[in-house]
Amino acid sequence: MSDAGVIHDIGYQRYEGPRLGRAAVFGALYQHGLRASFGLGRSIKAKIFPWLVVGIVLLVAVINAAARAQFDVILFDYFEFDSTISWLIIFFVAIVAPELMSRDMRAGVLPLYFSRPLRAADYVGAKVASLVTAVFLLLGVPQLIMFLTAAFTLDGGIGKVWEEFYGALLPGWAYSLLWAVLFASISLLIASLTGKRAFAAGGIVAFFLMTTPVVGVLSILPSETAQDLAGLVSPMSLINGVYIWLADGVDLGLDVGRFGPIYGIEAFCLVAVALLLLLARYRKVASL
């Protein structure tokens, strides 16, 4: 009897190492969510869609950067870039938000989460942070590529590069962050309502797309006030409006007139309400 290949039962070992607090638990859940957003640690099937979107977005950025470097033609700037790919952002959150929220609900893992040192607020916070980061990376990395290409090909030395960085890239990133926060909070709220991923994805796409035609109709009404307020109806034009207000009259193809602050208030309220509803929902789920 040779027992070379036998695994000896060394008995149960107690754990004497450190136990980290809620901040570390939050970090672990955030990291897990961010990885899941891009299908990392999941099957091939879960990777296809996020990376398809990433690929298209990067391609758009590279083409734009190349056009500027080669022919000195600016197809779109850092702001227009976000608006240009807004449909892709919608599809991205429509796939990823249910992956983050509905999946946990469907599988019933929440009782396992909430019997650990994790609160409803931690869970919601970590998921929102994951998706905000994922959407921001989706927008910010291509913007960085556009900047780097410009930096190496622009005539005018280091001063011009700094000007491009402070004057264009940073505001562009801020604008992307605004997109990320609004899209993440709304899509996660919709995804938290159902355990069925397909329903959640459909709901998210419907919410973002159905409102666009309304903006179109309102913006051709004869009343100037109606035209200025038209952008409030759709999340996409709402973000445009907020930025036009903040950056004081940047041309994003939307006229907000003197109603800029209203755009700001609505965007803030929309995010706040979405997050509060999410929290209220998970407070209830966590005690079940």
Binding site: I7, G11, Y12, Q13, R14, Y15, G17, P18, R19, L20, G21, R22, A24, V25, A28, L29, H32, G41, R42, S43, A46, R103, D104, A107, G108, V109, L110, P111, L112, Y113, F114, S115, R116, P117, L118, A286, S287, L288
Partner: protein, 314 residues
């Protein structure tokens, strides 16, 4: 290995005082529950809806009691939630596993959510899966597991952060008889060899009495009885004597020997007070020269104790 066991016997791990939980709709899930639970393997039995799950949720700090108090390891789950949860592992009754990840990955993830550092979580996950007998299969996706294997993953995730107390809600749910036995053996091993106390919830008394040191029976949110199994069965061991004739004479003879004999149909029941009871009965039968049919020890099932207790209360 004996030292921890005897030490464990004296430690109170859960103590409740008039614990009451009333839900919003006026439904009383727990009513005036006062019980001290000592370390070991504890069976929490009661019919569906008796308040077992509510009790578990209160111990985990998931819901706050309406009245009364509860202490787990001397800690208040409402206030010291994190300290309690770090020392408690919970295995829920329902399906709670995602199908599209491997058991190793899932248990590691939950280990990190319990506050273990990354490498420790990975090591502990492998260990926990090894202890429940899933070491070979741990990199397979959970969706392809059998019901028995899934129950083991649920047990492993409750063990991953090395708790001092496991709360298992119906761990044998949906298992076939062989699977039930395996699961119960595993639970018993955890309670005796790992030095971890276990509360096993079940609506099947016969199942948990085999592996438990003590039992808590609740019904309609009220405590029916809580005691050590040994205390419950010790008083209940009786010898059943059956003779084909002369039962009255034997009755008189045994009564004269100061034995508390009772008659039950064609049998005489004698409490087993000491080892000599056997000999005394045999001698009496021999002296009377009666044809002895049967002499055996009847061990009361714990279930019977509850029924008599219950009717006595009414």
């Amino acid at each position: 290995m004996d030292a921890p066991a005897s030490y464990a016997e004296r430690v109170t791990i859960i103590a409740t005082q008039s614990l009451t939980k009333t839900y919003g709709g006026g439904v009383t899930a727990l009513s005036d529950l006062t019980v001290d639970v000592e370390a070991g393997v504890i069976g929490l039995v009661g019919a569906n809806g008796a308040g077992k799950s509510t009790f578990i949720k209160i111990m985990l700090g998931l819901i706050a009691p309406s009245d009364g108090s509860v202490r787990v390891f001397g800690l208040d789950p409402v206030v010291q939630t994190d300290q309690v949860r770090a020392r408690v592992g919970y295995m829920p009754e329902n399906d709670c596993l995602p199908p599209d990840v491997s058991a190793a990955e899932f248990v590691t993830h939950l280990g990190r959510l319990s506050g273990l550092p990354r490498t420790a979580a990975r090591e502990r996950a492998s260990e926990a899966l090894r202890h429940v007998g899933l070491y070979e299969e741990r990199y397979r996706q959970i969706g392809g597991y059998s019901t028995g294997m899934k129950q083991r993953v649920k047990l492993a995730q409750a063990l991953v952060h090395d708790p001092d107390l496991l709360l298992l809600d119906e761990p044998t749910n949906g298992l076939d008889p062989a699977g039930r036995d395996a699961m119960l053996t595993l639970v018993h091993r955890i309670g005796t060899e790992f030095g971890i106390s276990v509360v096993v919830c079940s609506h099947l008394l016969g199942e948990v009495e085999r592996i438990c040191d003590s039992l808590i029976a609740i019904e309609g949110g009220r405590l029916l009885r809580a005691d050590r199994i040994s205390a419950m069965t010790a008083a209940s061991d009786v010898l059943a004597v059956e003779v084909s004739e002369g039962i009255d004479e034997l009755f008189d003879a045994l009564t004269q020997l100061q034995l508390a004999v009772t008659r039950e149909g064609r049998q005489l029941l004698v409490p087993l007070e000491s080892e000599s009871s056997y000999d005394e009965i045999l001698r009496a039968v021999a002296e009377l020269d009666l044809p002895l049919h049967r002499l055996d020890q009847r061990r009361h099932r714990v279930a019977e104790l509850f029924t008599t207790k219950e009717t006595a209360d009414v």
